[in-house]
């Protein structure tokens, strides 16, 4: 029967654009390479794995650049189910860079902690491959495959500190809640497929044009709930703080940035290409998620005494801000602005948040503590790190001219563009939250700049070279994008997201 079905549709092998797939191919080859080399590598030479993985990321970066240089025509494969366009290229670049930074952050941590190294990098690369695939996936199936490819390694990485109960707890919680969310997501997807007859996003979008069936509404709700887990939107965020705290710090950095951003990427693809007409369903839903996420995340962050946990909650709350424009994306003429905002936000947020975790990694090598108090007097003995941390936190707060302010501004402008009452209310909630967020970010600043050193130990901190390099990349990104946001603003125009509104 398969044959007869195939015969009906005149099966032809899909043409594969090797250039367009090159980043994924490089990563896939790299994964196998790292895995194989790791098998035969003596324990004393495991440091090679980090370098090698870094090179794999950079090698995958090359075709992304060439693709961007060659031209801006859309490369569409598999009947438009896998698309390489400007939108996906800029995000691929972001994720590869973020992956590279995570490798840099991981290197010393893994070597000094005595963790398994080869396997770690294989998993990290696999996860990055999943994320990179996610940017181009325009089909429920490929989105799901990409999602699992990026999630499953992350479950394991979260528990990488094997002898540590907290790390195990982190991994188990992440895994259990993760598979549960996956189940919800798949359930929704199957309803969408069942009622529209296609897994291709644009086809779904076309089919959702008329009145919605109850099944479709349920499907949409479940799909968004499923991704709500991935982007740790309240109330699906519960795993995040526990996991972030227990997981090794580089993994936490990775989860809070790359993995979360991937969730947003998938959400964007789904919302713009497939669910767009169903705005009466997803707009209120995302509105509630965004409002809850930024508020609850913030309120929880206020009370934290552990810096990593605070950053975890704050990143939950930042997720709310990223969701915010999507809550009004189909109101008025906010669609384009919303897309642009989310992409910009993701880009800058990645740099600032990775940077903040980088500083925590560098400092905790000395203080062996994650508490906010352990940062007391940092300015007096590690001024470089203190200034960098100030930079990242000020950016996260949204104070110009660093990084995120431009994204926050864009988000507010999007809400005003939309111009509905719901949008205004959300803007007010967001403004209040920005202020609350300032309180806890400033608490850390105060600690660093004004408090005495808790244990009086003022030996300077020398950040290991890879960490220093990572911090350099993040700082440059935070400052440059804050001062010259025009560099990236031109990406992510709506026409760059191929197929939006049936185009």
């Amino acid at each position: 029967m398969i044959a007869s079905l195939l015969a009906q549709s005149a099966w032809v092998a899909p043409t594969i654009d090797w250039h367009a797939l090159a980043p994924e191919i490089v990563l896939a080859v790299g994964i196998n390479l790292v895995l194989l080399i790791d098998l035969w590598l003596a324990e004393s030479k495991k440091w090679i794995m980090a370098t090698l993985s870094g090179f794999v990321m950079l090698a995958a970066f090359v075709p992304v650049v060439t693709l961007a240089v060659v031209g801006d025509d859309v490369r569409s494969m598999f009947d438009g189910r896998y698309v390489v366009d400007q939108y996906s290229l800029i995000l691929k670049a972001l994720f590869l860079l973020a992956g590279y930074v995570v490798v840099l952050l991981s290197q010393t941590e893994l070597e000094e902690g005595g963790y398994y190294q080869g396997e770690y990098y294989v998993l990290l690369l696999a996860s990055i491959l999943g994320i990179v695939m996610m940017t181009s996936s325009r089909d429920l199936v490929s989105i799901f495959v990409a999602l699992e490819l990026l999630s499953i390694p992350a479950y394991m990485m979260a528990a990488w500190r094997k002898r540590d109960r907290k790390s195990n707890e982190a991994g188990v919680k992440y895994y259990l809640l993760g598979v549960f969310a996956t189940g919800v997501l798949l359930f929704g997807m199957s309803y969408l497929y069942g009622t529209t007859g296609s897994t291709k996003l644009t086809d779904i979008g076309a089919a959702l044009g008329g009145d919605l069936l109850a099944l479709q509404v349920i499907g949409i709700v479940f799909v968004i709930a499923g991704f709500g887990f991935k982007v740790s939107a309240v109330p699906f965020h519960t795993w995040a703080p526990d996991t972030y705290e227990g997981a090794p710090l580089p993994v936490t950095a990775f989860l809070s940035v790359a993995s979360k951003a991937a969730g947003f990427v998938a959400l964007i693809s789904l919302l713009y290409l497939a669910l767009y007409p169903a705005k009466d369903v997803y707009q209120p839903l995302i509105w509630v998620l965004a409002a809850l996420t930024m508020t609850v995340g913030n309120v929880l962050a206020l009370r934290q005494t552990n810096l990593v946990r605070m950053l975890a909650y704050s990143s939950v709350s930042q997720g709310g801000f990223i969701l915010m424009p999507l809550a009004v994306m189909a109101t008025g003429d906010a669609a384009e602005a919303a897309l642009k905002t989310v992409v910009i936000y993701l880009l800058i947020y990645a740099f600032s948040n990775l940077g903040a975790f980088g500083v925590v990694i560098a400092v905790s090598r000395k203080t062996r503590s994650g508490s906010i108090e352990s940062f007391g007097g940092l300015m007096s003995y590690a001024p470089g790190l203190a200034i960098l941390m100030t930079l990242f936190l000020v950016s996260l707060t949204g104070i110009p001219p660093f990084g995120i302010w431009i994204a926050k501004l864009q988000a507010f402008k999007t809400l005003l563009d939309a111009g509905s009452n719901a949008a205004y209310v959300l803007a007010v909630i967001a403004a209040v939250n920005t202020v609350i967020a300032a309180a806890y970010y400033m608490k850390v600043l105060r600690e660093m700049w004004m408090k005495p050193v808790p244990d009086g130990d003022i030996t300077p901190i020398v950040a290991p070279q890879p960490v220093a390099a990572a911090l350099g990349i993040c700082a440059a990104g935070t400052v440059v994008l804050g001062i010259l946001p025009g560099l990236v603003l031109r990406f992510a125009d709506l026409q760059d997201l191929n197929g939006a509104f049936g185009r």
Partner: protein
């Protein structure tokens, strides 16, 4: 530098950059510079004064200097720097006083102290940001600079102070002003969007500024300005910020930062003053601030705090003047800006000198000073007189102008000014009495008399400011042009009058005389006033001060945060899951219920449904309340069997068969694993109470029920033809089999099956690997297990006997299922599962060694060969240029058997069969050896995964 650059279009940018570079450099070399950092910091200030002076000519003639630089073109944000007369006035104020403060600071920080250099650098950065605020024409660029002043002032106030109050003060300052700044940003965006322009210079011309949104925007902007300029009720931070070193206070709180709010009001008033709440808010808040600030200043014994409250009061005055939106009042505001900058900075400097030399600035400890203090005291008295508005000083001119302008059309403002000014005279007098030592405690030690006189360079800046106060007062012509041009730059249509010292006898003069007289009486009777104040404050002590309100609010917020955290994020996985479950169940419930037009008949034709449903319900409830794990599992099994009963009743024996087999096996495997867990569920205190759990379960149950109804009923809503009909129709012609379920498994959805088989194999391997890792010793395969000794079951002869009889027959049955499966109920999965049941029987009778004996092959060999067979058969057609999994069928007559039909689906099915058997064997291998080892395995992927494909098969 400026000289050579005049004519270029970058003068202002160069100035701003200079501040940035110098500031960063000084911060960087902090320690090496020490207090001489202020000498470096004076350079940009001086450069600014010179550069602005060279520009004054055209600017005062009404030709502002505009520099445009594209910044974020995509958002339409340009850096438009606009130097008009008002900006020039502010720049002169900011940089002129900045210059003097730098000189003064060199004297002030004569004792080496760490962090002094950094202070100088931060001061320069702050000055740069402040200049940016003044010259930005684009609202968003203005906001950027505005926030930079907030951040730098935060660092300045709290710089290196070991004093916890300093930290609290600086935190409060940044929270209040930062929050206000963000509100202001919201206001900017709203107003900018509504007006269609973000350029202040174009705002006034905009015609679209009305409506609710703009009103909200205006209020937001006012909040920003009020917080920055310490207006009631946000004024608490300014006195708190007095913990900063005095030069910093002199600069931030006399000349610059607090004036940013006033500046913004002045800038926007021409465009926005007519919008709804602007004028009432500005006048009300400004007036209240002026009076309350003055009242508070009267109570202070700390000279610096007296000045701080006085500043709050004066800021209220300024707010009223510049915010009212009338040009003549605004002109008075411009004069007052200059006057206030000059006398307040001088006064702060005097207090700093006193504090520095005498070690105290409390009026109760000052008893007059010795020789060499005369210049300092003269400066203090003159500056205070200017503050009080005595002629012939600049302060007098400003107040006269204000009274004159307000008297004509703003009665409310006039009253507030008069009341406020009386208080101002009174606290100015108090200040003078204080530095002259007249308020010192009786009998206190006269330490201040021994205080060394300050060096001349320390006093010089204050003297310079006082010279300006007197000079501009006597000859207002030197500021006349600047002030008038400023007014015109704000209100282009206006024609402001000249500034005079003597404007003849008019109402303003009479009012002034009255004010000074009453004020003088108040100074004279200061003791009784103090007593009255104490009584009054005793009476209103229950009212929270803004300080208390602020910290109370902060405490409330943290308490809320703590409580929320404790409830929502207590680390309990069940709670997390419950929240998610509840949301996922509730969210779609609404639309789903709406879809249910009518409830379908719950009991169909078959009466047999009722007892089965009862069994299902009873089993489910029993499983939930059972206290022992095994009982729970068995009850779940009962639910499964009952479900199979449904299939039978509905006429789907093959589904039922699969379900039976799956349930049997799953239960056995469950029990196998549960042996390692405690017998009973832990009955410790749960994270969530029973009622809540019941509620959530109920909601989830209802939701699933409704979803099932909706899903079942919505087939008719979907346009596409049903796939099931087509599959039924094509099963025999295309799939060559009349058992549709099997045909679907091996043919229609053969690829799925292949995938599932692969997953099964991987899961089995993983499960065994994990189990082995957890129990390293027990798994040595060579270790002979005494038959039945380690299984934990009692060895019953009857079981053994029946097992040895039953085992071959069940295996035979499974083979029958396998071969007949394509046309009759059965198939590879069912067959494999049946064989699995046989194996478990074997296990019960003889433990794992019996299982091993019955199959000579290693489990993984069976597993692997099954997999290889399935994949091989699937790939075979590719060799013959057919599609993957294309099955062929053969039909031949045999002598003995008659007609035999066979398809290549059979070997594929055999592969599946072998994989399932292999899986079961692996599971026993992994979990089923003995119970001596106490190792426990909590996770049970083997049993879990084992049931999945079967469940899918049953629904396919």
């Amino acid at each position: 530098m400026p000289g050579s650059l005049v004519g270029n279009h970058v003068v202002i940018v160069v100035l701003l950059t200079l501040h940035l570079v110098v500031g960063l450099a000084v911060v960087a070399v902090d320690r090496r510079l020490g207090r001489w950092g202020f000498a470096v910091a004076a350079v940009p200030a001086f450069a600014t004064v010179v550069a602005v002076s060279t520009q004054l000519g055209p600017v005062l003639d009404g030709r502002p200097r505009v520099e445009e630089h594209a910044w974020v073109p995509a958002l339409g944000i340009d850096v438009v720097l606009r130097l008009d007369a008002f900006a020039a006035l502010m720049m002169m104020l900011v940089s002129g006083i900045g210059l003097l403060v730098c000189v003064y600071a060199i004297g002030y920080f004569s004792h080496p102290k760490s962090g002094t250099g950094r202070l100088a650098g931060l001061l320069t950065l702050f000055a740069g940001a402040m200049l940016g605020v003044v010259v930005s024409d684009h609202l968003l660029a203005l906001f950027v600079f505005w926030e930079l002043t907030t951040v730098t002032s935060y660092l300045l106030i709290g710089n290196d102070d070991r004093d916890p109050t300093a930290r609290d003060a600086s935190l409060m300052a940044i929270l209040v002003t930062g929050a206000g700044g963000l509100a202001m940003l919201a206001g900017f965006v709203i107003v900018g969007q509504s007006a269609g322009t973000y350029l202040i210079s174009e705002l006034a011309a905009s015609t679209s500024l009305d409506g609710t949104a703009v009103t909200v925007g205006v209020v937001c902007i006012l909040i920003g300005a009020f917080t920055k300029s310490a207006q009631v009720p946000f004024s608490g931070w300014l006195p708190g910020a007095m913990v900063a070193p005095t030069p910093i206070s002199a600069y931030l709180h006399a000349a610059t930062m607090v004036k940013a709010g006033v500046f913004l009001l002045a800038r926007l008033a021409p465009a926005l003053a007519d919008i709804g709440p602007w004028r009432p808010l500005v006048l009300g808040v400004g007036g209240a601030t002026m009076v309350i600030g003055g009242w508070r200043a009267l109570r202070q014994t700390d000279l610096k705090l007296l000045l701080a409250h006085g500043t709050v009061s004066q800021l209220g005055f300024l707010t009223m003047l510049v915010g009212a939106g009338a040009y003549d009042v605004a002109q008075a505001g411009a004069v007052l800006l200059l006057a206030h900058g000059a006398f307040k900075a001088a006064l702060f400097m005097v207090v700093g000198i006193v504090d520095h030399q005498a070690g105290t600035r409390d009026v109760r400890h000052l008893h007059g000073f010795g020789d060499g203090w005369r210049p300092t005291l003269v400066v203090g008295v003159i500056a205070a007189a200017s503050m009080a508005g005595l002629p012939p000083l600049l302060g007098f001119i400003a107040k006269e102008k204000a009274l004159d302008a307000a008297g004509s059309d703003e009665p409310f403002m006039l009253v507030m000014i008069v009341v406020g000014s009386v208080l101002t005279v009174a606290y100015s007098g108090r200040f003078v009495l204080g530095i002259l030592g007249r308020l010192g405690d009786q009998g206190g030690e006269a330490v201040s008399r021994q205080a060394p006189a300050p060096a001349w360079s320390f006093v010089a800046p204050a003297v310079a400011l006082t010279v300006f106060t007197v000079g501009a007062g006597l000859a207002p012509v030197i500021i006349d042009r600047l002030v008038r041009a400023s007014t015109v730059s704000l209100y282009p249509a206006s024609d402001p009058a000249h500034v005079h010292l003597w404007a003849g006898v008019n109402i303003a003069l009479l009012l002034s005389i009255a004010i000074v007289s009453i004020g003088a009486v108040a100074v004279w009777r200061h003791v009784s006033i103090e007593r009255a104040q104490t009584q009054f404050h005793g009476a209103i002590a229950w009212l929270p001060t803004s300080d208390e309100a602020f910290w109370g609010g902060m405490r409330g917020l943290t308490r809320t945060a703590q409580r929320t955290t404790a409830t929502l994020q207590n680390g309990s996985l069940p709670l997390y899951l419950m929240v998610i479950l509840a949301v996922a169940a509730l969210a779609p419930l609404g639309p789903a219920v709406a879809e249910l037009d009518s409830l379908p008949a719950l009991v169909g034709d078959a009466e047999a449904h009722i007892p089965i449903a009862v069994i299902v319900a009873a089993g489910a409830i029993g499983a939930a309340i059972a206290e022992r794990r095994i009982a729970s599992v068995l009850l779940l099994g009962a639910v499964g069997y009952a479900m199979a009963g449904f299939y039978v009743v509905q006429g789907a024996p093959d589904l039922a068969l699969t379900q039976f087999a799956i349930e049997t096996l799953a239960t056995v495997l469950f029990v196998l694993v549960l042996r390692f867990l405690p017998r009973q569920f832990e009955s410790g205190r749960a994270a969530v109470g029973v009622p809540v759990r019941l509620l959530v379960s109920g909601v989830v149950g209802v939701s699933v029920f409704v979803l099932a109804l909706v899903a079942a009923g919505s087939r008719s809503d979907v346009e596409q033809a049903s796939i099931s009909d087509e599959m039924l129709a094509r099963s025999v012609p295309d799939g060559k089999g009349s058992n549709v379920v099997n045909v679907i498994l091996v043919d229609f959805r053969g690829l799925d099956t292949m995938g599932e088989v692969t997953v099964l194999v991987v899961a089995a391997l993983g499960a065994v690997a994990l189990a082995r890792a957890a129990r390293p010793t027990a798994m040595a395969p060579t270790q002979p297990t005494p038959s039945g000794a380690g299984t934990g079951f009692a060895r019953l002869p009857i079981v053994e006997a029946s097992a040895s009889v039953l085992f071959p027959s069940i295996v035979l049955l499974s083979l029958y299922f396998l071969f007949a499966g394509h046309n009759q109920p059965g198939g590879g999965f069912v067959g494999g599962l049946t064989a699995g049941a046989a194996i478990s029987l074997r296990y019960i009778a003889g433990g794992v060694s019996a299982v091993r004996r019955s199959f000579r092959l290693k489990p993984w060999t069976i597993l692997g060969s099954g997999m290889a067979l399935a994949v091989g058969i699937a790939l075979l057609p590719l060799l013959m240029n057919d599609a993957l999994l294309q099955h062929r069928s053969f039909e031949r007559e045999f002598a003995l058997f008659g007609k035999v039909k066979a398809t290549t689906a059979l070997p594929f099915d055999v592969g599946v069969y072998l994989v399932v058997i292999g899986l079961v064997l692996m599971a026993f291998e992994a979990f089923g050896d003995d119970v001596e080892s106490e190792a426990r395995s909590g996770v049970d992927p083997g049993a879990d995964r084992g049931s999945e494909p079967g469940a899918e098969a049953s629904t396919a």
